[in-house]
Assembly symmetry: C2
Homo-oligomer: 787 residues x 2
């Protein structure tokens, strides 16, 4: 889609020059605004035409029963689904006798711009009504990063032809009608009329509405306030009813005259606070926003983003489209995680109802790594959310007959919502992902307070889980049987390499933390015997290796399985899970997403260079990338084994996942993890960055065609800037003291303010790995290098 | 329950001396009557009290949607459920002002007798109404083996005290209200009001009703006719309405006078025939039954059973309770299979709604083996039913990406109804069970016509399935990965020994048949290459063996798994599947039901004696018998390895499964396979009978305490009678010529009319195998030997 002529490449914006009906659903996701608390899809101001109206509040969900054809012990009985809350985006416009509706009349021009530095969505529209009356409408929409409960719109109408009778209706709409979603099992269930009206009121240009979600019981408040600038005196009329709030302005504009409406919308929700308390909370937030004013909000937004880009920006010379896509991705990662504040970061952020609004392991393994080095406070919040859900995870582990904590595969509140356990509950590696996120964050930031108060709890309880999940066999090896690794095209396997190595890290990290915080260890009743048993299990963990083939076996027996018949698989049969039964997929050598290759990336120290190279080639041949989580990992390992051209192709795939709608479901929301993957592919791939324990290392290498890569990472109470050129890399550090790291295995120390240049070695030439027929990534070589 | 004093042991009857409310549900199953076409639970004549009213017609089902929390490709979208059809059992009685209802008044005596030789259920009741009026009621109920559509009741009332005003209402009731079933996932879903009225009529003492099942569209007709013998002239009144047919008699009986009502009930159903055709069909059946008359039906029934018992009876001296239980079991096996006639034999027969009325692999592996040697025509019918469903199985295989036929794990019509594929679709061994049933039947009967017309189709299409399901690895071994064997506490394992060995037999049998019937092979497009590829795959099949432990591994990797913590498992937590998640059960060494041990029984030639003994001990230690299909197999292999005492305990468990309600769900219907298992435990266990290809062998051995076992098997166009005494066995053959078999490996030929005595060797003494704590079978030694 990005190749559509309506989307010219722009370094700091996503720009759309015309509106296309068939792209409406995707652009509603791409141009969505969010601060991690509020999410507004980019539905048009006037409400229609729309593909999927969407206004979300992080954590606001409905509960629905999970049905089973055959029940089983421990299956979750109910699931959580994100709901479309009160829509505060709508500003309808009547031009003389006709509503502004782009399906009628003539659209002379229509442009939308998502500005990554200003943090706003701008729209400019020139429309001629069926009766021939021309108007220009501009709107600027924001969801504030600095005032968490606030979204705002600045809406302007200008008459172009003769005097024009204008009526503007600014609305709050609850229980909007939603279109039926498609039947892809990965798409979200649709909930109808989830909001029960509790109270509503209006005064002046302010309207306030409070609802309660029918089954989850959550209270949701929304309110709006308006400021009007009009050439003539104007008397707005406000009204409210259970599911509609409306403020109406009417005037006559002469040619060139403009009506300007600034709309502030405030949202609040709670599972505990009363209806009056919620009502007052959003009114208060409105008052604060009005005090700041529209320009003030814009200024705050830009300042917030300036700060972010200073730490987070990545420059990648040689591919302007990827450069744009990576910034776009970072902007969406920021929007998903910035102000979640002790709530989950859903797989789709707050950009659509895909995956029911659930958070998965990709939060900890894809999104948090980016935020750890760019906006670490957001990571603390996300991990505190996991910590808040510990009681549920302890309970779930007990239900499963395990010790410690079993975190849910998919959830909004922390309760397990997976209705298919072989690819849910059995994917225990999620728990190691949480542990890895803890140690990564603490090592990067030195946040000992978090480590002691929350981090150790997460490490200890996940270590306990692993210790009880695994067992020693009669040769003393520690086995973890019957679990599902990242590759969802295998399930219930014994000794999945990725799972076992991540469990090993988890166990060793817990061992380290209980010795670092002995008082907390005592509180958690961790004795010396228990801690030692974690360490010993970790060091004895089984890592299957196929001696005959000379490669690691993703799990025991995997390399003995029949290879998927790729040549008999037509292209339209991907993703395989929608065209073949699980039973057949599970029993054959076919990999949905990086699994053993993910192990190579995450646990690089466990593999020799020769093993990495052989393993990568073996698994490339059978990996179909039916998951958006795969390409960035393949990019990183491709770079690691010196296949820089291939790495570059995977980088582009990860970064363009949504802009090019590669999985054909961007309509349901953005693939936040894959977008994070663009940054990861650059920093861990071409930057070669690894962070294991307290050791940070780099191995910079540029793909052919690129002359420069720069990125920054927040580390050691400072910011390390890495500038990669062909054959050399420069490291600049700004911080309190100095930073130590490895450059191609060689220790480097950079003092604050210092600039160190290192040469980079030439990499051995290797034949490009091959993928299943038709599943190779699109070559970036074929595209023009647009810089 | 059989130990309840109300159930005295009787060799040819099941007798109940008093009615116990708390046993009502179980006795409705135990005393149920069926001919394999019609099934009537033993609800009381007067309808109430009841636990679960049940009238079934083999094949009559409703369709219901199968829901999934997360959908998947190839999941069945709808399931089939047996329904309660029009109830023709009900005969209500008003005694003066009060209905006969055992919850009121005084029950002086109440006796029920299920007579295995007469094939009837008799009831004798002496009741005093709350007002003090005493009556005696006797009823005799039958479901005719000789007139397939007919059930009948002879009902008599005798006044005991003063003159008594008697009203008798004989009814047909459609859409009876059913109680809610419990939530055990193995229990049936309840369908409400499945019958839509199409037509109803009455004339004289005849009533006719036709319904259509709401979603499946099946037409169901029921009609009743009556004959009345009364001391006074009496004018019955008939009436009919959409869901009720009723014939009412009223009279006054003086003390000692009797009213006798004979009720004939006819059933018919069809998916194709019109309503008028169905109406006429049941009226015609009624006319035929009335022509035969009550006494005639009784005579036919007894003659049919005399014939059956001559071929099928087993005498086992030394344990009267087991003797009774085995005959009771044979009677129910006969009832389930006698007149199914190209319909499935459901797991519960037609005795209750358990398992939704579905047929499973136990039909071919447990029930048909008994019928093959006792009532072989029924086997031909059951296999012709499978043959009729071949088109659906071919379609299912194609959907699964396989060649040949994939028969359904559970079904009524032949469509897959399993809503949990890891223990459904993945249990491919069902297909080998069908193939085994074909070769067993053809070898036992010499029915070459069946072999050529239907048998070869089943063998070829299942062989194709196996060939496409398996693959050769890089050492040339033939692997079958990712399937579920009989043990449902393991799933999706590689190279399950039982599955692989049964697949081997299936492939070799198909190879043999295509050479025996080359013209049919050509029609089936089986070329020489294809047939050779079956043979070669069969001979290269993988059979996992753990060299270190010196035992077979049930499937690859199984013996490396952690052992279930039996000592931490309280007794009330069995069956484990209701108290632990599948994920945990699957990944540990715990066996629900004989799996490797089933392989030893079915494919004895693949194991050395030493392997059998070691394997048996190993698997006994971890087998919990949470399935009723296990104990008879364990009995057979225990006998094989010389553990005769243990074999005896398992025999008793299999035979008493329902009489003692060992699985606590006899209320839902009988465990027909386990009841067949009583016969199997005696014949294959203590008789040591095996039948592999065309080789029949015996290895008779009696358990301590038993002085004699006799059984007959129909083989070689005749009947071989085997009489086992301690230390010797006698073989008597009645047939056209002679029979050849092996006695302890030694070839024996017995001519028709001849009687050959052979000595039996002493068996080596072995320590009794142990079971998980609390899961050992009840010892028969503790019980009195009641003979």
């Amino acid at each position: 889609m990005i190749e559509h002529p309506a989307f010219p490449v722009d370094q700091w914006c996503l720009r759309e020059l015309e509106l296309h009906d068939d792209l409406l659903a995707q652009t509603e996701s791409l141009f969505a605004l969010s601060n991690g608390h509020i999410g507004w899809r980019a539905n048009l101001d006037e409400g229609e035409p729309h593909a999927l109206p969407g206004s979300y509040l992080n954590g606001v969900h409905e509960i629905r029963p999970l049905p089973y054809a055959e029940a089983g012990y421990g299956y979750p009985e109910s699931g959580e689904t994100v709901i479309n809350v009160t829509n505060g985006k709508v500003i309808r416009l009547l031009v003389d006798d006709e509503p502004l509706d782009l399906r009628y009349g003539t659209t002379v021009s229509h442009e939308r711009v998502l500005d990554f530095r200003a943090g706003v969505l701008r729209r400019a529209l020139h429309w001629v009504s069926p009766a021939g009356q021309a108007v220009k409408v501009t709107s600027t929409r924001m969801v504030s990063f600095t005032q968490r409960s606030i979204a705002a719109v600045c809406y302007e109408v200008e008459a172009m032809g003769g005097p024009t009778r204008i009526v503007v209706q600014s609305e709050l709409i609850a229980n909007e009608e939603l279109p039926r979603q498609n039947s892809d099992p990965r798409s979200a269930a649709v909930m109808k009329h989830p909001l029960n009206a509790m109270t509503h009121s209006h005064q002046g240009t302010r309207v306030n509405m409070v609802h309660r979600v029918a089954h989850s019981g959550l209270g949701v408040a929304a309110a709006m306030e308006h400021m009007v600038v009009s050439p003539e005196g104007i008397t707005p009329v406000a009204e409210s009813s259970p599911h509609l709030g409306r403020v109406t302005l009417a005037t006559v504009l002469r040619p060139g005259q403009r009506l300007r409406l600034i709309k502030f919308v405030a949202y609040g929700w709670s599972s505990r606070r009363s209806v009056p308390a919620l009502r007052d909370q959003v009114d208060a937030a409105l008052t604060a926003a009005a005090l700041t004013g529209w320009e003030g909000l814009l200024d705050e937004q830009r300042a917030f983003l300036d700060n972010f880009w200073r730490d987070a920006d990545v420059e990648f010379d040689g591919d302007a489209e990827v450069q744009q896509a990576v910034r776009f991705g970072l902007f969406h990662v920021l929007q998903a995680g910035a102000r979640g504040e002790r709530r989950a970061i859903p797989a789709k952020g707050l950009t659509g109802p895909g995956y029911d609004g659930h958070a998965f392991w990709d939060s900890e393994m894809y999104v948090l790594p980016v935020l750890t080095y760019t906006l670490p406070d957001a990571v603390a919040h996300a991990l505190c959310w996991r910590h808040d859900t510990l009681p549920l995870a302890l309970e779930r582990a007990e239900q499963l007959g395990l010790r410690g904590a079993a975190f849910p595969w998919r959830t909004i509140t922390g309760a397990e919502c997976s209705g298919y356990w072989p690819a849910g509950t059995a994917a225990f590696h999620l728990n190691a992902a949480i542990a890895a996120a803890v140690t990564r964050y603490v090592s990067a930031t030195g946040d000992e307070d978090f480590a002691e108060k929350a981090g150790i709890d997460l490490l200890v309880q996940t270590a306990r889980l692993w210790r009880s999940l695994g067992h020693h066999d009669n040769e003393g090896a520690f086995r973890i049987d019957g679990v599902t690794g990242p590759d969802e095209y295998s399930a219930l396997a014994d000794n999945n390499v990725y799972t076992n190595l991540m469990a090993k890290r988890n166990l060793l990290a817990a061992y380290e933390y209980v010795h670092r915080f002995p008082r907390r260890a005592q509180e958690l009743a961790v004795g010396d015997e228990e801690a030692a048993s974690w360490r010993d299990a970790a060091l004895a963990v089984v890592v299957p290796y196929d001696d005959k083939l000379g490669v690691h076996s993703q799990a025991e027996g995997f390399t003995n399985h029949q290879e998927w018949n790729f040549s008999a698989t037509p292209r339209e049969n991907y993703p395989l899970m929608l065209h073949y039964p699980y039973f057949d997929i599970y029993r054959k050598q076919v990999v949905k997403q990086a699994d053993l290759v993910m192990a190579i990336m995450q646990c690089a120290e466990e593999f020799t260079d020769e093993q990495k190279a052989r393993d990568f080639v073996y698994y490339e041949r059978i990996t179909v990338r039916d998951s958006s989580l795969s390409s960035c990992v393949q990019a990183v390992v491709a770079a690691d084994v010196g296949q820089l051209d291939l790495a570059n192709d995977y980088l582009a795939e990860a970064a363009l996942m949504d802009l090019a709608d590669l999985e054909h479901n961007t309509a349901d929301g953005m693939h936040i993890a894959s977008l994070a993957g663009g940054w990861i592919a650059l920093v861990a791939g071409f930057g070669g960055m690894r962070h294991n324990g307290d050791t940070v290392s780099f191995a910079p290498r540029l793909p052919p065609g690129s002359s420069r890569l720069t990125f920054s990472v927040r580390l050691a109470s400072g910011r390390l800037r890495v500038i990669v050129h062909p054959g050399k890399a420069r490291y600049q550090f700004q911080g309190s003291d100095h930073i130590r790291f490895l450059h191609y295995g060689q220790p480097v120390t950079v003092n604050s303010g210092q600039d160190v240049e290192m040469s980079t070695p030439a990499l051995p030439a290797r034949a490009r790995a091959t993928q299943p027929p038709g599943r190779d990534p699109r070559s970036r070589r074929g595209d023009a290098w647009k810089d």
